[in-house]
Subunit: 492 residues, 2 copies
């Protein structure tokens, strides 16, 4: 058996065990009884150690060396290169540290649910401190191995090849573009006559509507599910993609927007090339690319006027929801309403980057040891005041709102806004390639759109870098001008 | 580190991985989208191989040898003895056979769901044949290692120390006792005035009632769940016990009885000694003991007149179900109705042993190579005719009704009736120890009862054999007279 085939087997087993962890993690957020948390943390730590140990051995190192001298085709060479990246990432971090991070973050995530419910940062302070210490340890190691700053090493885990200085520049530019614009838009929107949603939609009807639309857009329910959790996510395992949302009966579109976002993630996962299912090159590219797919569906497509026409029609025809507030023009105004919200996941696409900039700035300070864990709530509130000119009223609306940090995910947030820029860039090309796009959306025909995404992005999996894909599809590397144009067009 | 401590760590990891498999298996039967089946089969096979490989190494063999010379207390010695039994079971069966059985049975179980729905044995014939060949291979190996017949080796996997000749004798005696009795009881019950249930109870209300009663009896929802599946089961993992049922709106008690049965299993699991959670000696004893606990709750307790009084009261007071059919005396008559049913899980406790005897006889024939897979439907129907004097109308009511064989579980069925005998023996002692039992049940006070089960049975885990526990609690080894007395008292 060739060295490369052996490597493929090893990485296939690692993929199986991370798929298993994906189901356990989904279960933990949707189904698991409260007191199983510690035990689940043990199970996840065990699996995490298992995958880690499997891909970080000297045997893997030697096999990679051998495989490089074997006669491999282009696709296999790309897979080998991803295998090597994973080996390098895994072998540099000791397995007991990986296990500790997994166990501590599972525990911390559980406590966060309580802390968030009670808006009490003290309930989570100790565990978060423990967790951040461990992640710092990891980031220091990775920083040295990859010759970057500790924080940049973390960002690279989620979006390979990112440069935090470049991101800081882009974000700085964005902030300068957005800050005056937001006030202008809010002022402009004051004269809009919007009918508020007064007829509540029950949770179960919201779910039916969400599933109906997911299906029409292309989500395959034979290889996935929709469930409920505190924080919406897209998880599960290869070929079994499970998304979640939360329901608010007073605001049915908060849930639907969330579902559309996660559906964008899910379509990417469901359309990855099956032949390469359990190989590193067959996985989705970085999280910025992933976010571009969720925002493509949520923002570029389902917040458009054409989609609101489609939505209004099906609400009337399929679900008997007849009310002036559910007319398409009103839905469009509701969906493009800009306001300074506390909550990132409920905020509009114009203010959204400011939420990310806040978190990006704080994360850099945490990993540069400029602020300690106990200072997080205050630092959060100060930064929010600076960016939004508004005071945070409690920690549930502040630093306790997102699960990420409490699940050990630092360096993840910037990928959200990189994704927004990438989505706008793809969408500009898509509209050029498909002049009938809006007509099709209005008719509820998403086939061509999804086919375009599948061929141009999803099926490319990790065969190319994010930047290569951008160049292939749009003839340009990442450029914020597309996002700015898009925002100007939609909101001014 | 002592050899024994090392062994404890190894078996702890094996327990973690079988706990993970428990959750994946639960998910497969309750939540998983249809097309994930093959992938789930791969995941389960991977975990199964993992636990198997972990406990069957030469290192484990050597550690057991060393540990025997270490200074261990009584509890640790018992644990070591269970460790050795598991090692012997695992090391004698090659790991690729274990993996094949796991993969084939997951696949076969999926196809069974289709076959059962369509009442079409042909849909499953090929996979079942493949599966039985593999289980035969396993049983031949185990038979040689433990110097018993291949079929006895399988029964011993589920109930250590059982003797199939003894079981055959007991079953023969039972059959002779039951066959004339059943006709007598049916004749006697003809004059009973039973009001049929005409007011349907919705699935969601049935679920609420079931959960209410589970909670009162002592099921801990912080360490467990109730869900829905085709075939009711008790699964999940240590400290996270998940039971399922199926609902029939026309017959709400079919679901409630199922829930009570699985609650009995679940209480056993939830009351195992936490200190020994992941060690072999801390697991539940054999499946006959397990079944004695489910039947204790389902038959001995919740089919009693006193429980029906309690049930009737809460249906009225808590759930506003007022109807003469839901009066306690009528519920009692409904719950003790004897008839010759096709379906084992829906049949009464008097005819139940005949269903088991049918399966036991067929299993012995399959493993003695007296019948082949293609002959199963006919052999089933013939045996049913012989025992029940009635013709099976279709395979869903015949050999496709139970999941067991299609999940690779042969030798499991006899434990159901051994459990019924054991439950009757325990119950006889319980009623002697607690003269107020019925009064307490009627008032909905189950504390003393559960405490008795916990101390006398649950907490003993695998520290003693089933027979030792019987002797300790009832001063007698297994004796069918208790069951016969109980049936005579309740039904004549």
């Amino acid at each position: 058996m060739s060295a490369y085939i052996k490597l493929k087997q090893i990485f296939r087993e690692a993929s199986l065990s991370s798929d298993i962890a994906g189901i356990l993690h989904w279960d933990m957020s949707t189904m698991m009884p409260a007191n199983s948390r510690n035990q689940r943390a043990e199970q996840l730590a065990y699996l995490s150690k298992l995958s880690h140990d499997k891909v970080s051995t000297n045997e893997v190192r030697d096999l990679i060396f051998e495989a490089k001298n074997e006669d491999l085709n282009e696709n296999d060479l790309r897979n080998l290169s991803e295998i090597e990246r994973e080996y390098k990432l895994a072998s540099s971090v000791p397995s007991d540290l990986v296990e500790k991070i997994s166990r501590t973050s599972a525990k911390c995530e559980g406590e966060w649910q309580e802390a968030r419910k009670n808006s009490d940062f003290n309930l989570i302070k100790k565990s978060l401190d423990e967790l951040i210490k461990l992640v710092k340890e990891e980031s220091n190691i990775l920083g040295k191995v990859f010759a970057v700053s500790p924080y940049e090493a973390l960002v690279n885990k989620f979006e390979p090849g990112s440069n935090t200085k470049l991101i800081a520049n882009i974000f700085n530019d964005l902030q300068q573009f957005l800050t005056p614009l937001i006030d202008t838009i809010i002022e402009k929107q004051k004269s809009q006559k919007i009918l508020p949603i007064q007829n509540k939609i029950s949770e179960s009807l919201q779910k039916d509507i969400a599933k109906y639309i997911m299906k029409i857009i292309g989500f395959d329910f034979k290889r996935g599910r929709l469930d409920k959790s505190i924080h919406p996510f897209c998880g599960g395992s290869t070929n079994d993609v499970r998304i979640t949302t939360r329901y608010n009966e007073d605001n049915p579109f908060s849930s639907l927007d969330g579902v559309m976002h996660e559906t964008g993630h899910a379509l990417y996962e469901q359309n990855l090339p099956e032949k390469w299912s359990h190989q590193p090159v067959g996985k989705s590219r970085g999280m910025a690319m992933h976010e571009s797919q969720s925002l493509m569906i949520e923002m570029q497509i389902t917040r458009s006027q054409s989609f609101k026409k489609f939505l209004s029609t099906i609400l009337k025809d399929k679900f008997n929801i007849v009310d002036n507030a559910y007319k398409s023009e009103n839905l469009y105004l509701l969906g493009t309403r800009v306001e300074k919200s506390y909550i990132r996941v409920e905020s509009d696409e114009v203010t959204y980057p400011l939420h990310i900039i806040l978190r990006f700035n704080l994360e850099r300070k945490i990993f540069n040891n400029e602020i300690s864990v106990k200072d997080i709530p205050e630092a959060w509130n100060e930064e929010y005041k600076r960016l939004f000119d508004k005071k945070v009223d409690n920690n549930t609306n502040g630093c306790l709102q997102d699960v990420h940090w409490y699940a050990g995910l630092f360096g993840y947030f910037p990928t959200y806004s990189l994704g927004a820029l990438t989505a706008a860039q793809f969408a500009s090309q898509l509209r050029f390639d498909q002049p009938d796009l809006d007509l099709n959306i209005q008719k509820g025909n998403f086939n061509e759109l999804i086919k375009w995404l599948k061929i141009n992005i999803h099926e490319k999996a990790s065969f190319f870098s994010t930047n290569e894909v951008l160049e292939q599809v749009t003839n340009s590397s990442l450029n914020a001008k597309y996002f700015k144009n898009y925002i100007n067009n939609r909101y001014l």
